[in-house]
Amino acid sequence: MSLAAQEEARAWEAAAQVPDPEVPCVTVADLGILRWVRVENGVCRVGVTPTYSGCPATLAIELAIETAILDAGIERVQIERVLSPAWTTDWISAEGRAKLREYGIAPPEEATGKGLKLFGETTVHCPRCGSTHTERLSEFGSTACKAQYRCKACAEPFDYFKCI
């Protein structure tokens, strides 16, 4: 393995551990917003994709990733915001989805490739009991990426990670 490849692996490992500041049960790698790490000419460049246009956590995430890589002993780090292609919830890994469910947040339900439904409801599974007998309380939750739901089977109120 070349020196650059070793550094890339080390930087990726460090960056991948960074938790999302608003949904700390998952890491930036689980969410798929950590896109790539490249070491060229002694500079470690990192591609990061924001989830939502105005996600207030974007800066905090970039800073946390930079700090994590610096802490891993890599001296020159440059974070690049990658806008295209746009992030979708399809990029959340299977492990990320399992962690979300464990944490009490229902992961996004369907592949975005099917196109967005303008009207009509999505079926959302309760992260506690798995029932599909759930209702949406509000399209908007505690953060830009979540909606508020309630399970009519077990009465649990929960966050749903919106499918975009």
């Binding site: 924001p50 939502y52 246009s53 105005g54 996600c55 207030p56 990658v82 806008l83 295209s84 292609p85 746009a86 992030w87 979708t88 975005t112 967005l116 303008l118 009207f119 309380l137 509000s138 399209e139 908007f140 939750g141 505690s142 830009a144 508020q148 919106k162 975009i164």
Partner: protein, 248 residues
């Protein structure tokens, strides 16, 4: 320079509406709405930031996104008139949101095929956000329009007040037309069928009808604004102008 101007128009639409929506923070009628409004404001302001950043680079005079948002006067703003209209009541706010999102959803959809990489990136994200802005505003328009006597009357008032600003959405400025010809932005006039489909669907359920507009209002793209924008900018820009260069 034409592309700079065309991007600026888009950015101004998003920033001005984003600021308007953010004015509901702490004042919305329900807790859920108090979360929803800043959420949607963030979507719009986030889109505006990326576009300002890009416009600044195109212009090449070193203007930052803050310079463009905070240091331009009313006449230099190029937003359409719809987005600057004051919030008034919730019916007005939701209808304004519905009109804007019903236009921008197909616009960003088409912009996903832009020849410009930044526009493609912005579009990919914004199109999804506009889809749920339509859902959210549409549900309110239906709930209020087909609600109580009071809410229905307010919804009808909102339609009377705002319908005259709709046509401007479909008009391309000279700068926008250039960007459209270059395949960078989609043609505004082409959005009409998709816009009408959404509005007609929602209005039918909301017991509303689109009125005949005798005098459609335009002028925003030339910097000719209504009386509301100056007041909004005076609040939005006060801090930055009092403390030039201030940043978070």
């Amino acid at each position: 320079m034409a592309l700079y101007q065309a991007i600026l128009e888009l950015a101004d639409d998003n920033l001005v509406l984003g600021h308007r929506v953010s004015e509901w923070c702490g004042h919305a009628p329900l807790l859920e709405e108090d979360l929803a409004m800043p959420n949607m404001a963030l979507d719009l302001i986030g889109t505006a930031r990326t576009l300002y950043d890009y416009a600044g680079k195109l212009e090449g005079k070193g203007q930052s996104e803050d310079d463009m948002a905070y240091l331009r006067d009313e006449r230099e703003y190029r937003n359409c008139l719809l987005v600057e209209r004051r919030n008034d009541d919730f019916a007005h706010t939701m209808l304004r949101q519905l009109y804007f999102a019903a236009f921008m959803k197909p616009f960003w959809d088409a912009a996903a095929n832009s020849s410009d990489e930044v526009i493609r990136g912005v579009a990919g994200k914004a199109v999804k956000e506009m889809a749920y802005h339509i859902r959210h505003a549409g549900e309110w328009v239906i709930r209020l329009g087909d609600g109580t006597e009071e809410s229905a009357a307010r919804m009808k008032d909102a339609v009377q007040a705002l319908a005259m600003y709709v046509d401007e959405l479909f008009v391309s400025s000279a700068a926008a037309a250039e960007a459209e010809a270059a395949g960078i932005l989609p043609k505004r006039a082409d959005m009409r069928p998709a816009f009408d489909a959404v509005i007609n669907h929602i209005f039918a359920e909301a017991m509303l009808t689109t009125p005949e507009v005798a005098y459609p209002q335009t002028g925003g793209r030339d910097g000719l604004h209504g009386e509301d924008l100056g007041h909004m900018l005076s609040v939005m820009q006060a801090l930055y102008r009092a403390h030039p260069g201030a940043s978070w």
